[in-house]
Subunit: 151 residues, 3 copies
């Protein structure tokens, strides 16, 4: 194990912003740029953390490969097999066959991502991007809360 | 993308409380009110974050639909199929057939949820609630650590 | 529900450190001690939070059972069944049959764990440890960012 540069920061502050994402089709979508665009306040920070939270139960957030779009297609393929629609054992389905699977996928992926901030930028790995996971056929626009703390 | 109200807060503080939840039957249970009850300290905060952490490896936490109880029944149905008991390939099973599946489900769901705080309240979406995911047949009471930071 | 000791801390600070873990074989590995080793700065803190973030998309982090090594073997067994290699529907596979399953497993498990700090230590439950989930056959060394805030 190798330890690298260590930062200590005092006098922490917190910035928080609501963001509304335009409607996206069902599937997995890169939104890293959308998040970075609302983080101008962190540009002068040495160290911190950014949390992105989605205020819905049928869409979710995750971090994964940011380069090859076929990864995001394979995510949709995999999760549609792993969480099938029309299972006769589901009781909840008011809103159609994509309703209950959307809830389950949301909890498997999670409702937030939390990312370190370093030297004024999200400290993502080279190949990491933030995905909006849209699990509904017609999910509409999605509300996020972006909160960052540090200095 | 639309950006809404932006908050900047300095002089952050942190509050932390241990909470013991009474034993619940195996399944998914709404505990939003239990968490809100121990967050009186945040009522005057403009912005912050609350983390809820479960100190166990056979129960977990997630955020999902807070209105229709059949969603929580369908969660139990789905995860029992997705993570079967009595797989002859499992090596770990000291505590019965629900032992190893409980560990796996806990990691799929996760040991914590992290939620923004805004204007003195958890900034959950309209339909979002906090679930205790009890994966054991007889899990007993469960210890949480609730930590909030902001101002 | 029982509420226990409550802590209020002001004047928060943040410490952040990059850590490079040596290469591990495919599977699930306990790294709690590696993380604790780089947290000497928190020894005098009353309350806080530690976040560990992995800067890769084919390895992940989770919290689970820290005592019986067969649990970690069963994790590898389970996730290899749940996320099969060589699915003919995968489009992304430049780096071999373990490539796309590694991405999927990473998002199921997650790229970070977030753990409360109390009285100068990670407030893990008795049986909880931090797992590095190495999903590649030859993943090489892995970079983490360890960030802690509190006082």
């Amino acid at each position: 194990m190798i330890y690298n540069i260590f930062y200590l920061v005092t006098r922490m502050e917190i910035v928080q912003q609501q963001v509304t994402l335009r409607a996206r089709p069902r599937g997995f979508h890169l939104i890293t740029a959308d998040i970075e665009d609302c983080l101008s306040a962190i540009k002068r920070w040495k160290a911190g953390i950014c949390q992105v939270f989605i205020q819905h139960t049928s869409a979710s957030l995750t971090i994964n490969e940011n380069a090859d779009p076929t990864v995001r297609i394979d995510f949709e393929t995999y999760f549609n097999k792993a969480v099938p629609e029309n299972d006769p054992d589901y009781r909840h389905g008011y809103e159609g066959p994509d309703d209950m699977p959307a809830h389950i996928k949301s909890s498997v992926m999670g409702s937030s991502v939390t990312i370190p901030i370093r030297d004024g930028r999200l400290a993502l790995g080279t190949w990491q991007g933030i995905y909006l996971c849209e699990h509904r056929n017609h999910g509409g626009s999605r509300r996020l809360m972006v909160t960052a703390w540090g200095n």
